[in-house]
């Protein structure tokens, strides 16, 4: 299975990054092809809502930055893991920056899907989505629930399903198995 992990922790050497690295290694040791992308090291200019990726260069951001790498890696994977510590009750601005710049993966046309308006898919298949959250002292269960609710909605928009939401700290082997089982 191909797995892309977007790590949205702005700090290197954090306990969360240690955990995410451990998970990457564990998944690789199980025979999967894993790419962990540390977003803090990328040049991401952020989405400015110009719609260029929909009407000027269809499917590609008009900004020449590293967002293309994120889109390419995510769309070609079977499991797309969004990893981030919870800060102020939600995943980091850094992870959101990457998610905002994933919009070229969708098509501008509206379609009806399950009785709701959504965007038309641009690709034939989309990866299953999983969340890996870091919950420090300032994150409670309600924050985890709200964060999960928002990313569930994101997954639906990205023609997918949030198949798993795990909080870092549990045994890595157990979380790795869970990710593989639900993807």
């Amino acid at each position: 299975m191909r797995i892309t992990i977007l790590n949205g922790d702005p700090q290197a050497d954090s306990a969360f990054c240690g955990y995410a690295d451990g998970l990457t290694k564990r998944l690789a040791s199980l025979g999967h092809t894993v790419e962990e992308i540390d977003l803090r090291n990328l040049d991401l200019k952020g989405c400015s809502g110009c719609f260029g990726c929909w009407v000027k260069t269809p499917g590609e951001c008009v900004k020449r930055d590293d967002s293309a790498r994120i889109c390419r890696s995510a769309i070609n994977s079977d499991l797309w893991v969004l990893a981030s510590p919870i800060t102020m009750g939600f995943t980091t601005a850094l992870l959101k920056r990457a998610a905002d710049q994933a919009i070229p993966l969708l098509h501008p046309y509206f379609v009806m899907d399950g009785g709701e308006l959504h965007h038309r898919p641009r690709y034939a298949r989309y990866p299953a989505i999983a969340l890996l959250l870091g919950a420090g002292a300032d994150a409670d269960n309600e924050d985890i629930e709200i964060t999960t609710e928002i990313w569930t909605s994101f997954a639906r928009d990205f023609k997918s399903r949030l198949v798993c939401a795990a909080v870092a700290g549990r045994p890595i082997e157990e979380v790795a198995d869970e990710f593989i089982a639900c993807a």
């Binding site: 989405c47 769309i75 102020m88 709200i146």
Partner: protein, 232 residues
Amino acid sequence: MSSLLVLNGSPRGSHSNSMCMMSPVIEGWKSSGAPEPEVLHLAQRGEFERAIEHFPAADTVLLGMPLYTDAMPALVKLYIEALAPYVESASQRDQKPTLGFLVQSGFEEALHSRPLEHYFEKLARRLGSPYAGTIVRGSGWSLPLMPENENRALVTHLRALGNQLARNRRFSEAELRVVAGTERFSPTAAAWLSLAFSSPAAIPNSHWDRALEKNNVWDRRYAAPYADALPT
């Protein structure tokens, strides 16, 4: 008289659908006799920093934004992260700004913005702030495009919400429901729309077609540039 700090969280800055929608709310605020609010665009360098500085002293803060991939734009989350010191100092401050929010999305139904609304309700509690409510409105792109008379009802209700914010420091549930419009399509409406959107002449989609044609890329509209490595 109490002060209002208006924060525009649109990455497009002052020329944004979010600002279009907040303008009537600001007018409504002023119609109560309350003073002119300070308006800051988070996308503007310098204003982002001022928005952090001015936050604790404001009586009321209205933070508006477009829905980006089912949540706040990264810019808004970055701003919220910069408010972290105010969580720690909340217990020592007598003054805690009342927080109101506005979320406008491209989709017509309000349901897409509800998870983010839950987040904002919690954010107000985290900051020890009274929560005025979240204005949710779909089809945000249509406000600047529609003729004035078609927007009149919406503008009137947005003004009423601004007036309520000044007088009661709280949006009324009834007014919020009116502005939200369609929460979810009825099964009949959904079936009809499924048909309508499967036609190439679907109105919102023809808007995209015109933009694609103008840029001479209509024939490339289904481009899937990253799919070459997809397994067969």
